[in-house]
């Protein structure tokens, strides 16, 4: 009969003291294997010290300890898809927790940094909405959940609970509140799909619940923060192309941009047009990798130039 054990919520955040392990069994097993149980505990301790370090990178700063082998610094024009495949998996557990620290502690992230500086685009009065995902070091997902000292709300663990992506997607968008009326388009609400490159599932949002680019981008930021791939904006090469407009400036220091498909089926950078025009013509949203969005910019600029 085992001794009831004390575990704090996350469990592995401290070395398992040997008295807390079902000692008889551990000792028996250890004796059988010729290994002392305390050895394991020490090893765990060593792991955990490292685990408890949660590092965050601010945009524009190089995150420490990037392992060279699987390079994260993606050049804007390179399609480092292989790297992406490794990074995609780190839907960072606990990054959510880390984010709030970062967001609250480090001042405003993302949108507002650039929103403040580059106010208008083409004179149309809409704030910039290039979606900037705060950079977080790609912390090993499983270690991370163990290392966070129990916060008020629960940290996210990758792949836990074991629910398939498509279910998470539909559950996230379809769990009803009493007055929710889900509809494809038209009267009460305007549901559109939002996808993010590399995220395993898409979300739906109701455009009618937002009144400005700032609102929508902060909502999206929250929604997709758990998918952020820990990448700083470093390594965006060939900036000479990019200095042509405010839009292009925004691609500096960011891995992602927010784009939308309009009524004509064209993909545009969000922020071009007045808000009402945007909600009228937007059919879906996509948080795209900066490298993919480069092709969009000239067209957008042409469109906005012609509008001016």
């Amino acid at each position: 009969m085992s001794i009831p054990q004390e575990h704090d919520y996350i469990g592995l955040s401290e070395p398992l003291p040997s008295e807390k392990i079902s000692y008889k069994m551990a000792a028996a097993a250890a004796a059988a294997e010729g290994v002392s149980p305390s050895l394991n505990a020490e090893k765990i301790g060593a792991f955990n010290l490292k685990e408890t370090e949660l590092r965050l990178g601010l945009p524009g700063s190089e995150a420490p300890e990037r392992k060279g082998g699987i390079g994260i610094g993606v050049s804007l024009f390179g399609k480092e898809l292989k790297d992406e495949s490794v990074c995609v998996k780190s839907f960072v557990s606990g990054a959510k927790r880390g984010f709030s620290h970062a967001i609250n502690g480090a001042g405003k992230w993302g949108l507002s940094i650039h929103g403040g500086s580059a106010a208008d685009l083409g004179g149309n009065g809409g704030p910039n909405v290039k979606e900037e995902i705060p950079a977080v070091k790609a912390v090993e997902e499983r270690k991370n959940e163990a290392s966070i000292t129990a916060p008020a709300s629960k940290a996210q663990v990758v792949g836990w609970p074991p629910i398939r992506s498509f279910r998470k997607n539909t559950l996230a968008t379809n769990t009803p509140k009493k007055d929710d009326v889900a509809g494809k388009s038209g009267s009460g609400c305007l549901y559109i799909k939002v996808s993010m490159d590399g995220a395993p599932y898409l979300r739906k949002i109701d455009l009618k619940t937002y009144c400005s680019y700032a609102e929508i981008s902060s909502a999206l930021e929250k929604m997709f923060s758990c998918f952020t791939i820990g990448q700083c904006g470093q390594g965006l090469a060939a900036k000479e192309h990019l200095s042509e407009s405010h839009l292009m400036d925004l691609l500096h220091g960011s891995e992602y941009v927010l784009t939308y498909e309009d009524k004509d089926g064209d993909w545009m950078l969000v922020g071009d047009v007045p808000w009402e025009m945007f909600t009228d013509s937007c059919r879906r949203l996509r948080i795209m990798k900066g490298s993919d969005a480069i092709g969009l910019a000239p067209r957008t600029m042409q469109k906005s130039k012609s509008q001016n």
């Binding site: 469990g11 097993a29 495949s85």
Partner: protein, 590 residues
Amino acid sequence: MDPEPKKGDDSPSNSCNSHGPLHPQSPFPDEVLEKVLSFVDSHKDRSSISLVRKDWYNAERWTRSKLFIGNCYAVSPEIVARRFRRIKSVTLKGKPRFSDFNLVPLDWGANVYPWLVMFAKVYPFLEELRLKRMTITDEGLELLAKSFPRFKALSLSSCDGFTENGLKAIASHCRNLTEINIQDSITEDVGGGWLSCFPENFSSLEILNFSILNGDVNFNDLERLVSRCKLLRVLKVNESITLDELQRLLVHGPRLTELGTGSFPQELTPRQYEDIETAFCNCRNLQVLSCLWEATSVYLPLLYGACASLTFLNLSVAPLQSGEFAKFLAHCPNLRCLWVIDTVEDKGLEAVGLSCPLLEELRVYPADPDDRDHRDGVTELGFLAVSRGCPKLHYVLYFCRRMTNAAVVTIVQNCPNFTHFRLCIMTPRQPDYLTNEPMDEAFGAVVKTCTKIKRLSVSGLLTDQTFEYIGQYAKDLETLSVAFAGSSDWGMQCIMEGCPKLRKLEIRDCPFGDAALLSGREKYERIRSLWMSACRVTMKGCKLLARESPRLNVEVIREEGGNEDQALKVYLYRSVAGPRKDAPPFVLTL
């Protein structure tokens, strides 16, 4: 000798009768043996048959027409092609199951293309391809569409890699297609244009399931397709089809045995409401109903007419409240299998206990798996209520936020016939919420009482005691999933030394190290695969195991971060094909 010329020199009858003293004459002529074997379908039985003697092995390999490969890397296309000559149906499974939960990086492998190339050469009369957790690209689908003139059935479960272009190739070229069945796919957006590519004279479709794909399909093309496919019995549409459109597709109502609804529109006119109601009443023979998306209480009554003979109701993506759910259940007296979301809460499950006496399988999914909204979901009480009312229950998948040992003990006393018991207490390492003790006794009760248990997923706070129980009592256990459990290597050792029928073991975030890993060295060639992630296994341990076991592929998935000595994701499996040739750089085969 052998009357059938097409077999050639290699024929079983020729080879086995020529073996003199070493292989005494078989009591049966080969023709008889082969005829008898042609009735044996199960691949497990056939494997056993092939081990009896050489002539049986040969007879079996000539007569096998259905190929089942549970791990695509356990064998190679070449080996398969050499052994079997007349395959019509192939089932292939690829990635480890934890890939469903994003634990396996993209581009890990399991691409079916090399298999298709071989099949195109050796099995030109292939009719069915069923894939699970494999990657199939458009290139693969095109090869498939063009290489097999008799191709009939394509089933993709949890597969990725394709777009609508691949599906267009299938629709355009496969004249005899009877089945397109796409489930749980994890592809990027797949457009809906493929549905319009079936030729005008194409009418053989019997099973059409594209509910998981999110591209808009052209309704008119779909309507025409459905109306000319008079044999259609399974129709599961996606969310681009609304209920009022679906109604027009139900022209074959009485023939349908399985239906998946599309999305529910915002408003219906009274006339539309009536038409839909009538259409559903027309679906008299429906056995399986899946509801998508926003099935609200306004629309549920429309479906009542179709529920009289329903045996399987899938509401796993349609969140309902307990009241409307209970009303719905009252119309489904014959339910044997029910999938719901925990928005129905314990009250809803009480209704299950009252209304579904024939229930055999229950799955309760969480609406809020990441606990963002702090919903109650279901508890031990709901599970208890079901167990009291549904004595035939033998399959359960239950996501909850609290559970007690006492409840589980009672539940398995009420339902001792569990074969699949998958309990997920969503907070890792959570104890019995009343006694604060580990959940060891709960799972102990499961394995002691349910002697036929085949699949077990454990959760909650668990010490090594749980594994002692499992190792000792779960004699028929085949699949075990463990997460955030155990106290030491001993736990895993208990499993390795017990559980004689174990086939698949997946472990994550447990304190099992090299000693535990190595304790299973005798067992690994008898199981299909082992997954261990975020445990305490080191590269040293893995290398040692790999050295000792030449017929095992021991693979470590290297990811960013972590120190060089840790083996944070280990996947090992038996194989006659040797190390993978297509392993990406982040997969190290030791």
